[in-house]
């Protein structure tokens, strides 16, 4: 009786919350059931474990969603066809997944709609890492046990070393869309791990090239704990002629950053480097702008152009003071029809899969797209050559493929030495395209050839010697 009462009370709490929200007219999202204009259908996946572990990915589709291709059965796998299972490991418990995973889903949707690979469709199996590195190995094992031939994920560079160790032990190809750090390349080197994000050392080299004639004397770095932030701190200190005046590390969930801004301001830097993201990014820049940090100086980084950040900061977005590298220059002035369709397709897939309105383009989508496209290309190669799906064959296939995207005319490939992504780096300053409408574009842009800025084997060796790391490749 008591437990029934508790359940009723818990329900009352939820209902009271909902009622107060409705009363204030605050609901910003149309729930499918209340959307009279939509004809919601529910599709099921062929893998029960899939739906069981998806966070918000309830597999509900909204027929009013306008995908680029007009197909809405993204998750429906044709049971009459043989499937190739591909795993996705992401922090589905976080808001980040809705800005990452659509890139992967879009690539898979496209190949499935085109008839699959050799008559086989790609079937996705998802697992939620919950942002916890201690979950990574177990979730990867579950994906392997589910029959996945390759895995896209995890999403965080702080989880990549764990994934690398697991991949080496289990001999399964893992393509992580995180930023590639030297911690992964040196401490957790694995022939089965590929990283489809930007390479932190390459970003530092690009920034170093960009600042070489500007006479800067001092700079400051702000980064989150662990992951590639350590590279931004250590490598900038090592490579730049300018002096590193301070380097502040904050936790990934920090939002009260006035103290950090003041600490940086006290060093009078000529420029800053940031390696932060999500709510930490928007909070840091909101407070930095309020305290006048970016009135006269530039911030270099790789995470500056997210559509979400622009919308969140609005007038306070420090346009003109953000410069850096991206794989996905989605805000270029003149988009080609193919690029526009690509952007629209990713947004539509995100809306459909995560059942959310108001999603905006995220630069991370490209890393997730490239990861999935690499898996698809590798599968095509294995099918064409009639080879068995195993870890070694998959790695060999990944090392052999090359492909383009609507944003990259030069072929994308993987470097065998460290499995760094060889992809052109777009470098520029974010400025307002239309300040009133809060739309952005780029100025003072250039492309870097990955081979010109990625670290060489000698670079790795010298760095490993300095750090006392045993480098065995």
């Amino acid at each position: 009786m008591k437990s029934t009462m508790k359940r009723i009370l818990a329900m009352m709490l939820c209902l009271a919350m909902m009622a107060t929200l409705v009363l204030t007219g605050c609901s910003s999202k149309n729930a499918p059931a209340s959307d009279s204009e939509s004809q919601d259908t529910t599709t099921s996946t062929t893998d029960e474990t899939n739906t069981a572990d998806e966070s918000d990915a309830s597999a509900e589709t909204d027929n009013t969603a306008d995908t680029a291709s007009g197909n809405h059965d993204l998750l429906a796998t044709d049971l009459t066809k043989e499937t190739i299972k591909v795993g996705i490991l992401c922090n589905f418990s976080s808001i980040a997944a809705a800005y990452f995973v659509p890139g992967t889903l879009y690539a898979i949707q496209q190949v499935n709609q085109a008839g699959g690979i050799n008559g086989k469709t790609i079937e996705i199996v998802t697992r939620d890492s919950q942002g916890d590195a201690s979950n990574v190995a177990q979730k990867l094992s579950e994906l392997k046990d589910a029959g996945c031939v390759a895995i896209v994920g995890p999403d965080s560079d702080s989880q990549a070393p764990t994934a690398a160790t697991w991949a080496e032990e289990n001999k399964v190809a893992v393509i992580s869309p995180s930023t590639q750090s030297t911690a992964v390349a040196l401490n957790a080197h694995s022939k089965y791990l590929f990283v489809s994000g930007l390479n932190s050392w390459a970003i530092i080299n690009a920034i170093n090239d960009d600042i070489k004639d500007k006479g800067y004397e001092k700079f400051a770095v702000v980064g989150t704990d662990g992951g590639s932030s350590a590279d931004f701190i250590n490598l900038s200190k090592r490579e730049f002629d300018a002096e590193q005046a301070t380097a502040v590390q904050v936790s990934a969930s920090s939002t009260d950053l006035n103290s950090v801004v003041m600490a940086i301001q006290g060093t009078n830097p000529d420029f800053t480097i940031s390696s932060i993201s999500a709510t930490t990014w928007t909070s840091f820049f909101a407070q930095a702008v309020a305290l006048g940090l970016y009135e006269n100086i530039m911030n270099y980084g790789w995470e500056m152009q997210e559509g979400l950040y622009v919308g969140t900061l609005g007038d306070d977005y420090p346009a003109g003071h953000l410069r850096g590298a991206t794989l996905y220059p989605f805000a270029v002035d003149e988009l080609t029809a193919e690029q526009q369709a690509f952007n629209d397709g990713i947004l539509a897939v995100g809306k459909e899969y995560f059942n959310q309105d108001g999603l905006v383009i995220s630069a991370q989508e490209m890393s997730w797209y490239i990861a999935a496209q690499s898996v698809i290309e590798a599968c095509k190669l294995l099918e064409d050559e009639g080879k068995e799906y195993n870890g070694d064959n998959f790695v060999e296939a990944l090392e052999s493929i090359s492909f383009t995207t609507p944003y990259h005319e030069s072929p994308i490939s993987w470097r065998a030495m460290d499995h760094a992504l060889c992809v052109p780096y777009y470098f520029g300053t974010i400025v307002w395209k239309d300040e009133a409408a809060h739309t952005i574009t780029y100025t003072d842009t250039k492309w870097y050839d990955a081979n010109d800025i990625l670290p060489t084997h000698d670079d790795y060796k010298a760095f490993a010697d300095e750090q006392g790391i045993a480098m065995d490749w």
């Binding site: 939820c14 919350m17 808001i95 009260d256 006035n258 909070s283 006048g292 609005g314």
Partner: protein, 287 residues
Amino acid sequence: MSFSYLIQVFVIGLATGFIYYLTACGLSLIVSGMGIVNVAQGSFFILGVFLAISSFDKIGFLGCVIGVPLVVAVLAIPFERCIRPLYGKNVFYTLLITFALSLVVSDVTYYIWGSKHSMIPIPQVLKGSVKIASVTLPKYYLFICVVGLVIYFAYWLMMEKTKLGKLLRANMYDREMVIALGYNMNVLFIAMLAIAFAMSALGGVLNSGFASYDAKAAVTVFTNVMPIIFIGGLRNMKATLPSALLVGELCAFGAILTPQLYSLLPALLMVIVMLVRPQGLFTKEAK
């Protein structure tokens, strides 16, 4: 490092302390008045953030500052009903149920607002900075300092000069006696929770002018303010403001002196205080 810079750091540290105070004072009231640690307190802060973001276009900044805390305060009624069966039982029961309720509120928040994170625009009158002597301070931060002080004195007035305050204080010292005098303790607890939730929601509204949060950040908010409560003294509501200001200054100067470790300092101070002066830095030892 110039003197004027150090003064500015000090002033920003104070402003940061007031920001912390707005977040912590609601939790402090519950810990002091009810003797429970409400893990769900951060959820009402986050709810305040998202309600403000959604309703800003309709009711404006002032409407959010007044209206959102009132709406969130209503949730005290079902919340109190949920924890009522566990009054007087082992503290772990209330910890667990408030943790569970935190997850429920967070998930409902996530269900409604999803993956968005945003901020509310600061009113034009509060934008920009003022220069006092050689110190430049954003007007909005000054506004938060003023609101923090107003809330501190409003708390003081309520506790010292109103019947509700007297009852709340009496409850802290001798709950059985208050019940014996015929007062309905459940109603008193609902009032206490309503004030606490409203304060947290107000903290959320004001914070959303310069910080963004994700819908599931409730536990993070809770863990950020817990050191303030412990450092001040667990059952001493008056100690929350000086404790929050101390933590604000600790972070401000800590970020300059130990930039890679500064975020650990509040927790480190909490551990030291718990070992050396367990009743809290600003609380007298019970005789």
